[in-house]
């Protein structure tokens, strides 16, 4: 179903569950290290392998992280809560139950404001948080042989338990209603904001591509806000911000088409496919998985001390929303300008560049312009482009001082990225310097005018924009080391045209 029709015929109800993998030194219930990428099954012990008799012990740092995230999400912190066992059989789950929290989460009843860009500037949506609870990750299965890399048709399967027992916090929203066509953007903005939040708290790397932040999208449609909620699907494996909005959009269209055709929506888990941009059916939840939750008897209840919680609250860092407001004010940004910065994920680098002496306007121009283009070309984040904010600040300073033209500055950036050293090294190494004396420029202009009589005629007849050809020729002749504005001035003077 076309997107426009889905939006006009149905009202979406959205629910998001985000798993945040904590960057603690050790696992949730044992002392094994948590580093990503180690050789399979080298970060395991009797507890995370579920060998008979081994017992879990709660990681205090993980609890602290959960409380801090709960506070940052404006949640209440439980004065007493327990872990629970979620029972189901799967080989990547060593105990065949997961230690999680069920009806007694450590944090509950909060909210997170997210800002979604619109044509008239940002609009703030308050997303209600149902709960944030602690649990452990599973191991990782890989299926060898067969066509699909999936379990069906595989010759055999391997399990790596390095990830088993890594601490997770699951953040669950309340049903988000009334979004209409904004649903995909709000979903994306929520995950982005939550990601920024956990990064600012320093509790997770939040690398979606490595799975350290994973999103499940619950979505249902109904005819109008006055109708009851429809049957929902739960889409898993949504592992990039872009995919979050795409998955919401796809599910709205898929479900809309089914409902329009008089079919019903099956309550099921669906898998998101990044490559094809569609979801496919996983297991149906109608033969309901009964997890037989009950309080985990191997662990004692948690009773976070109220003074400790207040101390953690007082020590929270500046959170992303506040920081954005502060920087936007300091830099004099409009809502739209701020949105552009955020969409480019450029807040950190711009802030660092300004701290190294650049003006906010120049820093923003460079990071959102030339540097964003280069990052896009190389398919990397701005932060991983390979040029430090201090280098960018130096380039800007050289331009401001008139030592470099913009064109030359871009060459300096290229040089830095090519490993030629600092901006000053590149300037020296490549012999970049503005051609400052008018006599040299006049000579080049004379040559260009002589070579392009037709262009000169056009300019004289009032087509001033044609002067670009002459200016370009002069720039070429000076190997880009002329100040284009000065060249234009001199050209107009020579042709006796007043600017």
């Amino acid at each position: 179903m076309a997107w426009e029709q889905a939006v006009s015929d149905f009202d979406p109800v959205l629910g998001l569950e985000v798993h945040v993998e904590l960057s603690t030194q050790t696992k949730m219930f044992c002392g094994c290290p948590t580093e990503f990428g180690a050789a399979p099954n080298t970060q395991t012990c009797p507890t995370c392998l579920a060998l008979p008799g081994a017992l879990p012990v709660v990681n205090a740092v993980a609890v602290e992280s959960a409380v801090r995230l709960g506070l940052a999400l404006n949640c209440s912190i439980a004065s007493w809560c327990r872990f629970a066992r979620k029972n189901y059989f799967y080989p990547d789950m060593p105990k065949n139950y997961q230690i999680s929290q069920y009806d007694e989460p450590i944090a509950f009843g909060g909210w997170l404001d997210v800002e979604v860009p619109t044509s008239t500037g940002g609009r703030i949506h308050r997303i209600e948080i149902e709960r944030a609870h602690m649990e452990e990750d599973t191991g990782k299965s890989s299926h060898v042989g067969g066509q699909t890399g999936r379990i069906h048709g595989a010759d055999y399967s391997l399990v790596d338990y390095n990830r088993a027992g890594i601490p997770l916090i699951e953040v669950v929203t309340k049903p988000i209603e009334g979004l209409g066509e904004m649903a995909p953007d709000v979903a994306r903005a929520f995950v982005a904001e939550l990601r920024a939040l956990v990064v600012s708290l320093g509790i997770s790397d939040a690398h979606m591509h490595q799975g350290s932040l994973r999103c499940d999208v619950n979505l249902s449609l109904r005819q109008s806000p006055s109708h009851d909620f429809g049957t929902r699907s739960e889409t898993k494996n949504v592992n990039s911000l872009r995919s979050v909005s795409r998955a919401v959009r796809y599910e709205m269209q898929r479900q809309g088409a089914r409902l329009k055709a008089g079919e019903r929506i099956v309550q099921e888990t669906r898998h998101w496919h990044e490559d094809t941009g569609i979801t496919t059916s996983g297991r149906s939840k109608e033969q309901a998985e009964d997890y037989r939750y009950f309080p985990e008897p191997d662990l004692v209840p948690l009773a976070p001390d109220a003074d400790w919680v207040e101390a953690l609250r007082a020590a929270l860092p500046e959170l992303p929303a506040a920081r954005r407001r502060r920087l936007a004010a300091q830099w004099g940004l409009s809502d739209l300008e701020l949105t552009a910065v955020l969409n480019a994920d450029a807040l950190d680098v711009i802030e660092a560049t300004v701290a190294d002496g650049a003006s906010p306007a120049s820093a923003r121009k460079w990071w959102l312009g030339e540097l964003a283009r280069l990052a896009n070309e190389r398919d990397v984040d701005l932060g991983h482009l390979g040029i430090f904010p201090a280098d960018v600040a130096r380039v800007i300073a050289l331009v401001d001082a008139g030592t470099l033209t913009d064109t030359m500055a871009r060459q300096v950036v290229d040089g830095v990225l090519a490993g030629e050293g600092s901006p000053d090294d590149v300037v020296a190494g490549r012999g970049l310097e503005v051609v400052g004396d008018d006599a040299t420029l006049q000579a080049a202009i004379d040559d260009a005018v002589a070579a392009n009589p037709d262009v000169v005629d056009k300019i004289r007849s009032g087509k001033v924009s044609a002067s670009g050809v002459i200016v370009g020729a002069v720039m070429k002749a000076t190997r880009g080391q002329a100040d284009a504005a000065r060249v234009r001035e001199l050209l107009m003077a020579r042709l006796e045209i007043s600017p």
């Binding site: 009797p46 709660v58 060593p94 065949n96 309901a288 939750y293 009950f294 662990l299």
Partner: protein
Amino acid sequence: MTDLTRMTAARLADVVAGGQASAVEVTQAHLDRITAVDHDVHAFLHVDTDGALAAAAAVDTARARDGRSGLGPLAGVPLALKDVLAMEGVPTTCGSRILEGWLPAYDATVTRRLKDAGVVILGKTNMDEFAMGSSTEHSAFGPTHNPWDLSRIPGGSGGGSAAAVAAFEAPLAIGTDTGGSIRQPAAVTGTVGIKPTYGGVSRYGLVALASSLDQAGPCARNVLDAALLHAVIAGHDPLDSTSIDRPVPAVVEAARHGDVRGMRVGVVRELTGDGYQPGVQQRFDEAVVLLQELGAQVVEVSCPHFPYALAAYYLILPSECSSNLAKFDGMRFGLRVGDDGTRSVEEVMGRTRASGFGEEAIRRIMLGTYALSAGYYDAFYGSAQKVRTLVTGDFAAAFEQVDVLVSPTAPTTAFKLGEKLDDPLAMYLNDVATIPANLAGTPGLSLPVGLAPEDGLPVGLQVMAPVLADDRLYRVGAALEAALLDRWGAPILDGAPTL
């Protein structure tokens, strides 16, 4: 010198420390005794001859080097370890086929503490599969026979540990008690067994039956030996979150100074009369009179919710065990059945569990799976937890009036092998008097108070104390034991038939 196998543990430790016999000689004497009688008794599933002699030799070396001062109070004393506790490199089966071939890569904390104390572990003792039973007939490796009458059961689940002690194969043993598995075997074999306060002894490495009920404890032929062993294994363990971080009660001191003068002793009204074998009731009543003669104030106390304890226990235990036993799936250790390259992982798990678990284990897994299922949870598990709270309240109210509670340990003397095997409910009733202490986490002791006139078999009396008042058990037990010894002229086991 008298037969080393007839000595108490305290005396053996003294003999080794004083050099009258080496630890190797003591160990060899017990290994010889095992060779002589275990064919009939079948207390052991595995005898670790080499390991035991090596451990004994290490004690002798330490004594030769440092003299007696460096030796712990039980150094060089042999012990039989229930096969539910992990011991590095030594088969640990829990009486189940499903763990056949598994060699733990680590020691349980209890095992580690015994080794550190120089206690010589002779081997692993027989038990009902995963500690489910009251007769040791549910062992996958055949039953253990009661040394008093080889045609009778030695109690369970720790029948192997109790029988090993009663048959003079070991002066000490470790049992585990989830609903009476230390105390009931002690009662029917004429030995002493203690279930410490829940959390008093680490459960790390104890293969869990029901995590909230399981507790390891000492088995011995007299109260002082039990206390010495209790002191070695007890104490806080950071690897077990449910372990109590408090000083160990002064159990050895209490066992050395048995005294009930001025003590208030409560006879639990609900644990006498109907359902108790006349000879059991008679010996119990006589012991109560003796306590009075020794200076105790005896009163009758009502614990009105104890009659519901058994039913609650048979919901809580199966619930926890259905989850605890999920890890036995053939994936990482032990038995694997049906993995011929064509079957799915679910089929292999199913076949492994169907053939690896015995009838009683499957019965309890099924019971627990139902009890935890959606729609049944509140009625079954939820109600059972309420009863548990009420039973705990009964204890609290009773201990307002009295210092300790007493009852017969088990309703009958040892019954015939096979007699109750096909009647689970009759089997479950063996634990009616011991289960309340497991539900409440309170400590309990059983000691022999005579032979039932009708069958000449041992009768046990149970003493129960408040949480962390384990020392009271020993104070009462030692006083009663001394008075009975005066009366009898010899330890009760001297009257057992010669094997």
